[in-house]
């Protein structure tokens, strides 16, 4: 890290350059099937007319991102042809020449420039008045490292392979714009983001409510409650116009071609199961675990008839639907309702007790976390949607810092199963240690006066992750259970992490709900 560092942006550039160089070193590492997914999309968008983009199905990895992302791939493909023509042939399934790998990896690294810019803007929004002359102990510096060197983003984008960097860049930039009171820009950026990757729809409620409440209503009553007469029709029209224009630009062509239903069906594949092959550490992981335990116990004590139980290998299989044995099966509608209910309090909080952009950010994180907890077919990677915005809050208050440490450590740990090849095991452990040691020591230094950030129970919980990792990656493969129960490490990891993430979610929720009460009391 930039230890001494000059004034102004010098240290920031050094941090950004440093992490970019690290990303370059990651080029030859393992990449997952997502690499082939994106290569396939390059080929599809390069060779076919727009009308066939969402119909092409040579590869099993069909285009299932919104149109802007397709256009993004289209633009990339025009650079790709100078690296290797062959990667742009649709029939070249699983093609990964050196030039292809190099090009795709570099494209991720270069588009991350947007993320770096967004991180810079976010650092400017942070309250930097804390006493502490040391550069290393300035909230800005800590935030810059927490964002730029984020472990999850590094392994998901630069080893596993995805383009989350610039997408999160768009999101953080729009958050920063809202902090800077440039609401329209923020709304525009978020609308564009939604048409790049629709997973961000999870946090859309926060945006809607915040913009409506704090931008469209220009004034509050003296006690902080809503003043209906201050509603600005101009502002809501502008917002509406932005959203409609962006959507028209993105979906318009497909609407004209009459392909909208096809596009939608590709974007929302409800045919996939409740959980991913590896359970994301959320509520459903706990639910499945309870179900499985009940089934095992039931068979052992003859409550259940083994004949009637459907064969369900829940983890370590393909993405498929599966049925619960004891507990009722979960339908997409049920998850939707659960998600909706869990988001509701935070949104209410944002409407009735507005606290400016910080309240909005809390609501955004809660939306992301709640949908992660209860969503249908959630990927473990979606935890980044909560971790990255929470970094902004963590450097401002010790309470959030504590929650952040629990959430990032468990969330990042739950990403471990993404990388399973032997050389990458060392890589991920080293990178994880780097980020974890940094986040703990820097946040503790930042809030040295406020006492410990975690209580003893939380500390023990986090320390227990070490033996868990040792058991899963080192001890378990040597035991005879490896062949009989290959899913046990995954199951343990996801259940154990689910506990921590649920805890962090509840703690954040409680803190948000109680905090707003005290603020109102103050206002009174």
């Amino acid at each position: 890290m930039a230890a001494a560092g000059g004034s102004g942006g010098c240290w920031f550039l050094a941090l950004a350059l440093g992490v970019s160089l690290l990303k370059c070193l990651l080029i030859p590492t393992y990449h997952s099937t997502d690499f082939e997914v994106h290569r396939n999309w390059l080929a599809i968008t390069h060779n076919l007319p727009v009308s066939e983009w969402y119909y092409e199905a040579t590869s099993e990895w069909t285009l299932d991102y919104p149109p802007f992302f397709a256009w993004f791939e289209y633009a990339l493909s025009h650079v790709a042809k100078y690296f290797d023509q062959e990667m742009l042939v649709i029939q070249n399934l699983n093609y990964s020449s050196h030039a292809t790998v190099f090009f795709q990896r570099l494209s991720v690294i270069f588009t991350d420039i947007l993320f770096v810019y967004a991180a810079r803007e976010c650092c400017r929004c942070v309250n930097g008045k804390r006493p502490g002359k040391e550069l290393l102990e300035k909230p800005m510096f800590v935030l810059a490292v927490l964002l730029l060197w984020n472990f999850g983003l590094l392994i998901v984008d630069h080893i596993h392979f995805q383009y989350n960097g610039f997408l999160f860049g768009l999101m953080l930039l729009s958050v920063a714009r809202l902090f800077q009171k440039r609401h329209l820009e923020g709304a525009l950026l978020f609308a564009v983001l939604l048409h790049f990757k629709h997973i961000y729809i999870y946090v859309a409620p926060a945006y809607c409510v915040y913009l409506l409440r704090s931008y469209c209503f220009t004034a509050n009553k003296a006690d902080g409650s809503l003043k209906w007469s201050s509603f600005s029709f101009l502002r809501i029209t502008l917002l509406g116009l932005i959203v409609c224009l962006v959507s028209a630009l993105s979906l318009g062509p497909f609407a004209v071609l009459g392909q909208l239903p096809q596009v939608i069906s590709r974007l929302f594949p409800f045919k996939r199961g409740l959980c991913h092959a590896y359970w994301a550490p959320n509520f459903w992981a706990l639910y499945n675990a309870v179900d499985k335990t009940l089934a095992v116990v039931g068979i052992k004590y003859k409550f259940l008839d083994p004949e009637k139980i459907p064969k369900a290998s829940m983890t370590g299989g393909l993405v498929q639907e599966f049925q619960h044995t004891v507990l009722p099966s979960v339908t997409p509608l049920a998850t939707l309702i659960c998600t909706f209910i869990s988001i509701l309090p935070s949104v209410f909080c944002l409407w009735f007790k507005p606290q400016g952009p910080r309240g909005f950010l809390q609501c955004l994180i809660l939306c992301a976390l709640s949908s992660f907890m209860f969503g249908w077919h959630v990927h473990e990677k979606a935890i980044l949607l909560a971790i990255l915005p929470l970094s902004l809050l963590s450097v401002e208050s010790p309470k959030h810092a504590g929650i952040y440490l629990i959430l990032t450590t468990t969330g990042h740990f739950s990403l471990f199963p993404l990388l399973f090849t032997p050389p990458e095991i060392t890589t991920k452990i080293l990178l994880m240690l780097l980020f974890t040691v940094y986040s703990f020591s820097s946040l503790r230094a930042l809030f040295r006066k406020e006492g410990p950030l975690l209580n003893w129970l939380e500390t023990i919980y986090l320390i227990e992750l070490v033996p868990l990792e040792i058991f899963c990656e080192i001890v378990f493969p040597l035991t005879p259970w490896k062949l009989k129960f290959p899913f046990i490490p995954l199951l343990l990891t996801s259940v154990y992490c689910a506990l921590g993430i649920t805890y962090a979610w509840l703690k954040l929720y409680v803190s948000v709900l109680t905090e707003s009460v005290t603020v109102r009391q103050k206002a009174e």
Partner: protein
């Protein structure tokens, strides 16, 4: 933040870069029949595991010395044996006699890379950390910064984790030696240095400074009293540690002689490949190998080496000081590299590590030297397919040095340690201009030149008449740099102690 957590982060960064570089290719990957240093190390495991010690260094039907015969001292052989035992546990095919020749696979690569990382973690990295933690008169920040820079020095990382060697072991032992000497644990220091020599004979480049420093210390204490006792103790330690390392070979004189013959192959000529030393660079103008007999070459190179390292060594013996010792390590190793017989391009690391120790005192010049030393390895790295790692680690190193030491701002005469030197020059030439500006612009010109040459060697194909155009120009350019650095470091050494005494008077 606390010191220990910053140090942990530093070590982790160093480890991550090392491990990332090891994902790249290694020397001789997929190139039968001879392969490269990777195969050499694997072959040594095979030989040491399967053959009795008496046959290790001899040409037998089971041990063809023409195929990567063991030519390092016993400790390397023992280390190979140790690795071989682990390899045997994992997969016996890796070290099977004869049949394992040229064995290559992903798991095996992982194993070999891991052995380097473990050796590094046990010997070199702790030495660096301890050295930086106990730097005198430096702030915590500076300590961390120097540790980070030393750990990220690209030359060593690329050779050990890219090309594949175990330099960090011998260099690490030498560092332990320096570390012990700075605490006046002279016996421990000599033991560590003996281990270094017995791991790699190239460590002899550092032997004169160690010898002169300890001798000077004995002189200082008075050769009749305490000094003599110390001298005897040190001599005993050295002899004992050598004896222990060579114990299995001490049964016959022929054994020892054969090992020595393997260690110092005089018949291999003045230089091989493209080395950035004087002989190889002069070869562009005069074909030395054709003009002179090998015996004359040997004498000539010996004379030059001896003459160039003499001043620093005499100075050190007369006025032994830690600072002088470190500088003498640099200038002696550099003289050896430039003028001695049978030098490998990788031997520049022996100069680089002492230079690393100077990073916090003369940031600009050290960074510059370290960049040049890495650049001089470029032809080798290109052959191994390590261009990406080379570019990335070099840029990272430059970034880290610049942000942690702000090298461009520290160009005053004091920062360059040239105050007394330029004062004495001004005694003769009053109009002598100050160094700082010249040095700074020279640095920028040289970095640009290295960048352009790297770009050219990586992208252009050389003209058919001159197939070696780029490697030769790289080595000539680096050689010129090294000559300049030899003069610089000698100037610092020779004028340094006088300055030190003046300072003492002032205080």
């Amino acid at each position: 933040m606390e010191k220990w957590s910053l140090m942990t982060i530093t070590v982790l960064l160093g480890l991550i870069v090392r491990w990332m570089v090891s994902f790249g290719s290694y020397s001789g990957a997929g190139k039968p029949p001879m392969y490269g240093d990777y195969e050499a190390q694997r072959h040594w495991q095979e030989v040491t595991y399967n053959l009795p010690i008496k046959q290790w260094y001899f040409n037998t039907s089971d041990n063809n010395l023409q195929y990567w015969g063991l030519d390092y001292p016993p400790l390397t052989a023992y280390h190979s044996l140790l690795c071989a035992y682990v390899a045997k546990l994992i997969n016996p095919d890796w070290i099977a006699l004869h049949t394992s020749r040229g064995y290559e696979s992903q798991p095996h690569k992982l194993f070999m890379r891991a052995t380097v990382l473990i050796a590094d973690l046990l010997v070199y990295i702790p030495a660096v950390i301890l050295y930086c933690c106990y730097l005198k008169e430096t702030s915590t920040k500076k300590k961390i910064a120097s540790a980070l820079c030393i750990l990220l020095y690209p030359g060593l990382i690329l050779i050990d984790y890219g090309h594949f060697q175990y330099n960090s072991v011998s260099l690490g032992f030498a560092l332990w030696g320096v570390l012990s000497l700075s605490y006046d644990w002279d016996l421990l220091g000599s033991l560590a240095f003996c281990l270094a020599i017995n791991y790699k004979q190239m460590e002899l480049y550092h032997s004169l400074p160690f010898f002169c420093y300890l001798l000077g210390k004995c002189f200082q204490k008075g050769l009749t009293g305490k000094g003599l006792v110390l001298l005897i103790k040190i001599a005993f330690t050295v002899v004992a540690s050598f004896a222990i390392c060579w114990l299995p070979f001490c049964t016959e004189v022929e054994q020892i002689l054969q090992v020595l013959r393997r260690l110092f192959p005089i018949d291999r000529g003045l230089f091989e490949d493209k080395v950035a030393n004087i002989w190889c660079s002069l070869n562009v103008l005069i074909k030395i190998k054709n003009v002179m007999s090998p015996q004359t070459q040997l004498k000539l190179s010996f004379a030059f080496t001896f003459l160039t390292l003499l001043p620093a060594c005499i100075k050190l013996t007369l006025q032994p000081s830690l600072r002088g010792f470190k500088f003498a390590m640099i200038s002696c190793a550099l003289s050896f590299f430039l003028f001695s017989f049978q030098v490998h391009e990788k031997s520049i690391l022996l100069v680089s590590i002492p230079v690393c120790l100077m990073l916090n005192e003369i940031p600009l010049m050290s960074t510059w030297f370290l960049l040049v030393s890495t650049f001089s390895l470029l032809p080798l790295l290109l052959k191994d397919g390590l261009l990406l790692a080379y570019v990335v680690t070099t840029l990272a190193f430059l970034t880290v040095c610049e942000t942690s030491f702000s090298i461009f701002e520290k160009t005053s005469e004091e920062d360059l340690q040239l105050k007394s030197f330029s004062l004495s020059i001004r005694g003769y030439i009053p109009s002598f201009k100050a160094f700082p500006k010249i040095i700074k612009s020279l640095f920028i010109v040289s970095v640009t030149l290295m960048g352009i040459l790297t770009l050219m060697s990586a992208t252009l194909t050389p003209p058919q008449k001159l197939p070696d155009l780029f490697p030769v120009s790289v080595s000539v350019v680096s050689c010129l740099h090294f000559l300049f650095f030899l003069m610089y470091f000698n100037a610092v050494v020779l004028w340094d102690s006088r300055n030190g005494r003046n300072q003492k008077k002032i205080h």
